[in-house]
């Protein structure tokens, strides 16, 4: 592999167009009319060559000069082979097998595997060297000591496996420097992603040459800094807490999808938004047997399942305001915010709760026993109530149940749609006795009500009868889905209760058209005549929807809608009048969205902390600049000879 040390000098390639332009100017030949070109043509010896050769030959000078310029520029870029040397030296290879090396790149390669491949290449690129190999995470471990047998060293390097520990460069480098004996020419090669490299050159002894082999893209300088599995007893059962911490080494905030795999299956997938230098931890409970394999993957191209399944509607108002009435509002706020277009307000301790009750919200999330009994005092009429107390809507609690699981993985209710609760396990909860106010109830295997709704003319309440945090309810996935469904239902109730999907076949219920006169058509109009798109503002044409049927007919296929937003249906002929629309409906945005992860290169950062930027890297570099300069000199000599001694003709030609 050839590397260029001075890539910036590639700007000299920009001189090529200038050279061509100059040459063209030079080729602005003097026109001369002559009696005959017979003998002049005869002078050109390559008269019988191919047209391509003739063109090349006629531009030989330009060709040679471009080659000269290219060679010179290449030489200035200082190309060479990294680390290749036939010197007899002691190479100490430090291979990082810390937790961050378990990250997988966008091309699917694992950082540790890439590091091992690089290390093996380096070994073979230095055939006369003695090899030492150190694997390191939080503690260094000497694998190979002064080995000349490359196959043996490679075998041991291939045996390096990932750990779940953080990375300590300092101790690893200290060990390596201890190995570099006096008198021998030692060279340190560090194979790492340098996610937590903060020491700069300070940790290095300048007497020892260090070659940094960076693995992984700098654009994803975020890593799993810890992954631990601990055992915990919960009553009679055993639970394993999978504790993972993801750290952001960038000097800017990063949102990145992170998935936890337990025994090969994706146990959790969530988008983590982590501030610069910050870390976020999560605990996933695993019930049953001890997990045999746990891994965390940060996959930039991943699409969060929750995001994929999200639906939303709009009330036509500018915003949807939600209140979180909880002492610990984090999960609720995050789940509500993921719905998009929702302004979330969490209570503050020094403000009386009664003030919040008086304010106008579209939805209130109540995780407060006392407040759950005061719903009538709220101005807001839509609620999500978490773990309500006895007396809530007149219900009672019975005996305490432990080890509650779900009865069915399928939930037919709109507020639970797309939620996968098949593995839901609740350690302990009271069995609620529901009355007629409650409907759409999801029960556990032991007939405990888990979720239910109270829908009447005054209220819309979504109740959760257990504490999600005392269960394995996946807060980062199921909470957003559950909340978004609730938000969607509330929004839809405010408008039409109908939602459609963008760019998919949709179906109108024929009853929608009960006011449409038979035989007339309907016109669907986008609520706003103008729409902002990627190419600027554009007008939205009306859609004529001719299939109008009598009441009681089957579903009517609607056109595909290409834009999300509010649509209004008018009776044909009335669409330009002042009459009210027959009905309105909303078209949802596309289900799948790519998360916008745009981290910057850490080299752009100007913080006091030294990052693992390329400018701190040094490497042994066998330069090809000298032979290139020599070749360039030969080319320019040829150019000169060509200019001064070229002959176009065959000497002594006979007529």
């Amino acid at each position: 592999m050839i590397e260029f040390q001075m890539m910036t000098n590639a700007v000299f390639f920009g001189a090529v167009p200038a050279l061509i332009a100059l040459y063209m100017l030079k080729l602005n030949r003097r026109n001369k009319k002559v009696p005959s070109v017979h003998f002049i043509k005869d002078l050109i010896s390559d008269n019988k060559g191919s047209s391509l050769f003739k063109k090349l030959a006629s531009n030989m000078l330009l060709f040679l000069e471009i080659v000269f310029l290219a060679l010179l520029t290449l030489a200035l870029m200082n190309p060479g082979r990294p680390g290749q040397s036939f010197l007899n030296k002691k190479m100490i290879l430090l291979i990082d097998n810390s937790i961050t090396m378990s990250s997988r790149e966008a091309d699917g390669s694992l950082r540790l595997e890439s590091a091992i491949d690089d290390a093996i290449k380096t070994i073979y690129a230095n055939p006369n060297s003695t090899i030492c190999v150190i694997e390191f995470s939080n503690t260094p471990k000497l694998l190979v000591d002064s080995e000349n047998n490359r196959e043996e060293a490679v075998r041991k390097i291939k045996g390096i496996s990932l750990t779940h520990f953080s990375c300590d460069y300092k101790s690893a480098i200290a060990l390596a420097e201890g190995l570099s004996s006096e008198g021998s020419f030692s060279e340190l090669h560090i194979f790492s992603d340098f996610c937590s490299w903060a020491g700069g050159r300070a940790v290095l002894n300048d007497k020892t040459g260090v070659v940094f082999h960076r693995v992984g893209g700098l654009s994803r300088n975020i890593g799993v800094s810890a992954l631990e599995v601990s055992e915990e007893s919960e009553g009679a059962s055993t639970v394993f807490n999978v504790f993972t911490t993801v750290k952001n080494y960038c000097d800017y905030e990063v949102s990145i999808p992170c998935s936890v795999f337990i025994d090969g299956a994706r146990a959790s997938s969530s988008v983590l938004t982590i501030a610069s230098g910050g870390a976020e931890s999560k605990i996933i409970k695993k019930y049953g047997a001890m997990p045999s394999a746990v891994s965390v993957e940060i996959i930039t191209n991943d699409i969060l399942a929750a995001d994929d399944k999200r639906v939303w509607a709009s009330s036509g108002r500018k915003s949807f305001r939600a209140l979180v009435m909880s002492e610990k509002p984090y999960f609720y706020s995050a789940a509500l915010e993921s719905a998009g277009g929702v302004i979330v307000e969490a209570i503050e301790k020094n403000i009386p709760k009664s003030l919040y009750r008086e304010r106008e919200y579209d939805l209130a999330v109540i995780d407060d026993s006392s407040e759950a009994l005061l719903l009538d005092k709220y101005r807001c009429r839509n609620f999500i109530v978490i773990d309500p107390p006895e007396g809530f809507m007149g219900m009672n609690y019975g005996q305490e149940e432990t080890g509650v699981t779900v009865r069915t993985p399928e939930f037919p209710f709109a507020y639970l749609k797309l939620m996968d609760l098949s593995d839901l396990y609740i350690h302990k909860m009271k069995k609620a006795s529901l009355n007629l106010h409650f409907s759409n109830t999801a029960y556990s295997a032991s007939a405990c009500p888990l979720f239910s709704t109270v829908f009447n003319e005054n209220l819309k309440v979504f109740a959760v009868f257990f504490d999600p945090r005392a269960s394995n309810f996946p807060l980062k996935i199921s909470f957003p889905i559950f909340f978004n469904n609730a938000v969607n239902i509330v929004k839809s109730a405010m408008t039409t209760g109908e939602n459609f999907s963008i760019d998919r076949p949709n179906y109108f219920n024929a009853s929608k058209f009960k006011d449409v006169k038979k035989g007339s058509g309907a016109v669907i109009r986008y609520s706003s005549k103008e729409m902002c798109g990627v190419n600027g503002r554009f007008a939205v044409a009306d859609t004529h929807f001719g299939a109008v049927s009598d009441v009681g007919a089957s579903l009517l296929k609607a056109p595909r809608f290409h834009m999300a937003g509010l649509y209004r249906v008018f009776e044909s002929g009335n669409e330009h009048g002042s009459g009210a629309p027959l009905f309105e409906f909303y078209v949802n945005p596309p289900a799948a969205r790519n998360l916008n992860v745009r981290p910057r290169d850490v080299r752009e950062g100007s913080g006091p902390q030294v990052k693992a930027g390329e400018e701190f890297f040094e490497s042994s570099h066998i330069s090809y600049a000298a032979p290139l300069i020599l070749l360039a000199a030969v080319i320019i000599l040829l150019d000169w000879i060509y200019q001064n001694y070229r002959t176009f003709y065959k000497k002594g030609a006979e007529f």
């Binding site: 030079k26 030949r29 003097r30 001369k32 009319k33 002559v34 005959s36 017979h38 002959t647």
Partner: protein
């Protein structure tokens, strides 16, 4: 004023006489010797007198000397056929102080004038791609015809000289043997002119007159040039070096030498005339060099 109207030109021509060596093949009486015997001035040979022959032709001197009666047999002088082919292609418009075309016509005029004085039959034709405007010239119409020729406008459309086609066409139309003058720069013909010379030598006695100018024999020493052919408009781009320029000169010179060698080989004659040279001297050489004629 045309060249033949200039004072001194005709006078200079009058000091020359064209005597054509080859046997005349014309029908009419002329000044050139022919293979026919009959009425004439020059005694061809003597023969024994036969009864009935006109006694005024008895060579008395010979009869008394040899004591037998001899009668003089006269060789008949007839007209000779002179053909002049003058190149009128665009390449002939080069040259200074006078263009090659004018030089060629001056030569054609001079030859016609001298030949007409010797009571010869003269046909003048100019050629480019083919024979154009063949006219018969005699003493009476020579100035009129040359005025017409000189009054013609130069060709606007480029035309490549086709010497082979022109000569073939000419010899096909003018089968009576005579003396053919071809006046051209011969630059476009290249090697093919050698075949034409060989063919022409069978049909006619010939005289190759090559008119050249400075541009024909020399090119610029150095620089980037785009040369355009005056006849075909073909362009050739070249970066010239002094060495290449010298080679060019050598090639043109070699070509001329070979043209002369070939002409002489087939019994013809060759003369190279540069535009701007001493014209009368060159003309004298043409009519003297090969023994065709002499000063009058």
């Amino acid at each position: 004023m045309h060249f033949f109207e200039r004072p001194g030109f005709i006078k200079a021509l009058d000091s020359l006489k064209l005597v054509i060596k080859n046997q005349a093949r014309g029908i009419r009486f002329g000044e050139s010797r022919s293979k026919f015997f009959g009425s004439g001035i020059e005694v061809s040979h003597l023969k024994n007198y036969s009864t009935g022959e006109d006694i005024k032709f008895i060579d008395w001197n010979a009869s008394f000397r040899l004591n037998r009666t001899f009668i003089k047999v006269f060789s008949e002088t007839r007209e000779n056929n002179i053909y002049i082919l003058a190149d009128s292609s665009n390449s002939m418009s080069f040259g200074s102080p006078e263009p090659k075309r004018e030089l060629a016509l001056k030569l054609a005029y001079s030859i016609s004038y001298l030949a007409a004085a010797g009571m010869n039959k003269i046909y003048l034709a100019d050629f480019g791609e083919n024979i154009k405007n063949a006219v018969e010239i005699n003493k009476a119409n020579i100035n009129i015809k040359f005025r017409e020729i000189l009054g013609r406008r130069p060709l606007e459309a480029p035309e490549k000289t086709r010497l082979d086609r022109s000569v073939n066409s000419f010899t096909a139309n003018f089968k009576r043997r005579g003396l053919l003058f071809i006046i051209s720069d011969f630059l476009d013909s290249g090697l093919s002119i050698m075949d034409i010379i060989a063919k022409t030598a069978i049909a006619q006695n010939f005289y190759i007159i090559q008119t050249l100018c400075e541009e024909d024999v020399k090119i610029s020493d150095t620089g980037e040039y785009k040369y355009e052919d005056s006849e075909t408009l073909e362009t050739v781009e070249i970066s010239l070096t002094p060495e290449a320029a010298a080679e060019y000169e050598k090639r043109v010179s070699d070509f001329c030498s070979q043209l002369m060698a070939k002409s002489l080989k087939y019994g013809g004659n060759y003369k190279k005339i540069m535009a701007g040279c001493d014209y009368m001297q060159a003309l004298k050489e043409i009519i003297l060099k090969t023994g065709f004629g002499g000063s009058g």
